[in-house]
């Protein structure tokens, strides 16, 4: 038996160099879970796309609490998984600690920056995408009051809010009501509270509500649809959640980021450093499909296309909340 195991080990060692391009990718999800119809689901889709195209399967793990982060990441790295992609800014502190311990492992972190020679940090200009959906919201709103429901109250989510306020005000909205669900990670998964916040904003006159709140957003979309108002989805294309009741979704191409991380490692083209993806790089977008076609009029389409062109050309610059923790709009 012992000999057999040694034989196997030897075979693995011998075989490894022969398949240098063979990678063992791994994907770690954040709290909120793989099928949150939002951020984590987008990363899952990217990984699935890679699996389908290359036939290389990947390992994945959904943490159920913060204490599991370090253990899960270290286990994956020790098992020889490479590259390892982490979805969510909450992984940053853990990765800072683990990355130097495994210098040969290629890590990719989405939504936060960790400076290390073996880490690629992918961040998005959510402000730009949010500006565009803000333009649509400001035009679709009849009361000229629009709402914003954030998940956990952190600078990243305020960055969404800031761009949205800028876009909505540019399109004629007079007031943007902003609320956050909570101060703990549980705020990403409380649709009941999200729904209550949306109802409260609708009571105050808002008729378009944008949720940047992970799983909590499902409740926001439901409450907006129940009240006959419009919701705006986030991260994934959520237009299908309440067909005809969701104006658009601010899509963050997390799927592309995950796919590229896997693909680059497979092609041996992995680069470390910060990738900051905005409208220009197609990192963010607003979603249009059959579900919301009727809600977006040609004028709205024209306005949002113009805003998009202006941002890419640099004539409109969307303020980045995280640069100075303030929103000028």
């Amino acid at each position: 038996m012992k000999r057999f195991i040694f034989g196997l080990l030897a075979a693995t060692v011998v075989a490894a160099p022969a398949f240098a391009a063979d990678i063992e990718p791994a994907l770690l999800f954040d709290l909120g879970g793989k099928f949150d119809k939002s951020f984590n689901e987008a990363s899952y889709e990217g990984a699935e796309k890679f699996k389908k195209e290359t036939g290389t399967s990947y390992r994945e793990f959904e943490i159920s609490n913060d204490a599991q982060r370090e253990q899960a990441l270290r286990k994956f790295a020790e098992d020889g998984n490479n590259p390892i992609v982490m979805a969510g800014f909450n992984w940053a502190a853990t990765l800072e600690k683990i990355a130097p311990e495994f210098p040969d492992t290629k890590f990719t972190l989405i939504d936060a920056v960790v400076e290390a020679p073996n880490v690629r940090s992918v961040v998005f200009k959510e402000g730009e995408g949010s500006y565009l959906v803000g333009v649509l919201a400001g035009q679709a709103s009849k009361s000229k009051k629009v709402g914003f429901v954030g998940g956990m109250d952190i600078p990243l989510i305020r960055k969404f809010a800031c761009g949205y306020v800028g876009g909505a005000k540019a399109a004629g909205a007079t007031e943007v009501i902003q609320n956050y669900t909570g101060d703990t990670p549980a705020a990403w998964n409380d649709p009941t509270k999200g729904g209550e916040i949306a109802k409260s904003q609708i009571d105050q006159g808002a008729d378009v509500v944008y949720a940047a709140a992970g799983g909590t957003g499902v409740g926001v979309m439901q409450a907006a649809a129940d009240a006959g108002k419009l919701g705006i989805g986030v991260d994934s294309n959520q237009n299908g959640l309440q067909p005809g009741k969701i104006l658009t979704s601010m899509v963050k191409r997390v799927d592309v980021a995950v796919y590229n991380a896997f693909k680059d490692a497979a092609d041996d083209k992995f680069t470390a450093g910060v990738n900051n993806l905005g409208l220009k790089e197609d990192g963010v977008a607003y979603a249009m499909d059959d579900n919301n076609k009727a809600l977006v009029t040609p004028e709205m389409q024209a306005a949002v296309d113009k805003a998009k062109a202006d941002i890419i050309a640099g004539t409109i610059s969307v303020h980045d909340y995280m640069s100075d923790n303030a929103c000028p709009y």
Binding site: G33, K34, F35, D36, E41, D153, Q178, N179, Y180, G182, D183, A186, N189, D190, P191, T192, K193, G195, E196, I197, K199, S200, D203, Q204, G215, V218, G219, Q222, L241, Q242
Partner: protein, 320 residues
């Protein structure tokens, strides 16, 4: 005026699941069975309601399913703590864990949406009910908005929850069952001496608990939301327990306690980031912490000593 009406309207909506869970706990604890598993029963009920509503499209069948599952779990608790005289806290915690884990696993296995059940609409939900004349009376000063916004436009389950308050009071203080229920929580030996079966009485109490938690779960899944989402009870079962202690195990104070918690919740949602005259902008964090701060202050200073039913948590052993 509008703001006050909207706040109270939100308060009522948020309080309903707390109230149902709180009354559920009241039946059980008044009979001497501590029930920390309200949370789990609510969650299982919500899951059953979401699942059955998605499969059958009928909110009523979903309600029956939710009540059925919650009663089944309540009977497990009863079997452990009444028949087998186990530790009631351990059994309750076990039920919470079973509910939290199994709902996600079953939901994922059946619907593959990460433990979520598909969104339902129309007849599969308990929607808001417009009471007659609500639209006509809207313009009457003071009473108009109160009637049309707060009293009308709630869901059937909300009316049921508030109707349960006087009903529970009546059962507890005006019926023979209620007298015996209270007695078995204070002094089961006396009840036994009078020739009444202590286990049977306690079993009936936990069945009442199951029924009401099933309603609470259904409200969460099919009135406030349109389906089950994992961990959707979000600690409401524990808040209901706090409200029960707060209310000294009495039905009418229980309603006020739940409304108070709901009101604080509604305020924290409504007044986030709003600038008050004279004070200025209040930090969001303070608003969100407000319910907890006030709970501590009220519990510590204002309600006096809360004395639980004397036989609570103690399994009854007949003298040998």
């Amino acid at each position: 005026m509008d703001v006050v009406v909207q706040l109270i309207d939100a308060t009522v909506r948020v309080s309903v699941p707390l109230l149902l869970a709180c009354l559920a706990g009241l039946y059980s604890e008044r009979a001497g069975i501590f029930d920390i598993g309200l949370e789990g029963k609510m969650l299982a009920g919500a899951f059953a309601a979401g699942t059955v509503a998605a499969l059958t499209g009928s909110a009523w069948i979903a309600l029956f399913a939710a009540v059925g599952i919650a009663v089944a779990l309540a009977l497990v608790h009863g079997f452990a703590s009444i028949t087998n005289r186990g530790n009631q806290i351990v059994s309750g915690v076990a039920i919470n864990f079973i509910a939290a884990g199994s709902t996600i696993i079953l939901g994922q296995a059946w619907f593959s949406q990460g433990g979520r059940t598909p969104s339902v609409g129309g007849d599969a939900r308990f929607g808001a009910i417009e009471l007659p004349g609500a639209a006509a009376l809207r313009d009457v000063p003071v009473l108009g908005p109160i009637y049309s916004e707060i009293i009308s436009g709630q869901t059937l389950l909300a009316y049921f929850a508030f109707a349960m308050v006087p009903f529970t009071w009546w059962v507890l203080y005006r019926t023979r069952f209620g007298l015996r229920l209270r007695a078995v929580g204070e002094n089961p030996a006396a009840v036994d001496t009078a020739g009444i079966s202590v286990p049977w009485l306690r079993y009936r109490a936990v069945i009442c608990t199951g029924i009401l938690t099933g309603f609470a779960g259904t409200y969460l899944a099919l009135s406030q939301n349109a389906g089950f989402v994992k961990d959707m009870t979000a600690g409401r079962g524990y808040i209901a327990l706090a409200a029960l202690i707060f209310a000294k195990w009495k039905p009418v104070p229980a309603m006020w306690a739940c409304l108070l918690f709901g009101f604080l919740d509604a305020i924290s949602i409504r007044y986030q980031g709003v600038a008050f005259p004279g004070i200025g902008r209040v930090p969001v964090q303070l608003m969100q912490a407000l319910p907890y701060i006030l709970t501590v202050i009220l519990l510590a200073g204002f309600i006096g000593k809360a004395i639980p039913p004397r036989a609570g948590g103690v399994p009854y052993v007949k003298e040998r």
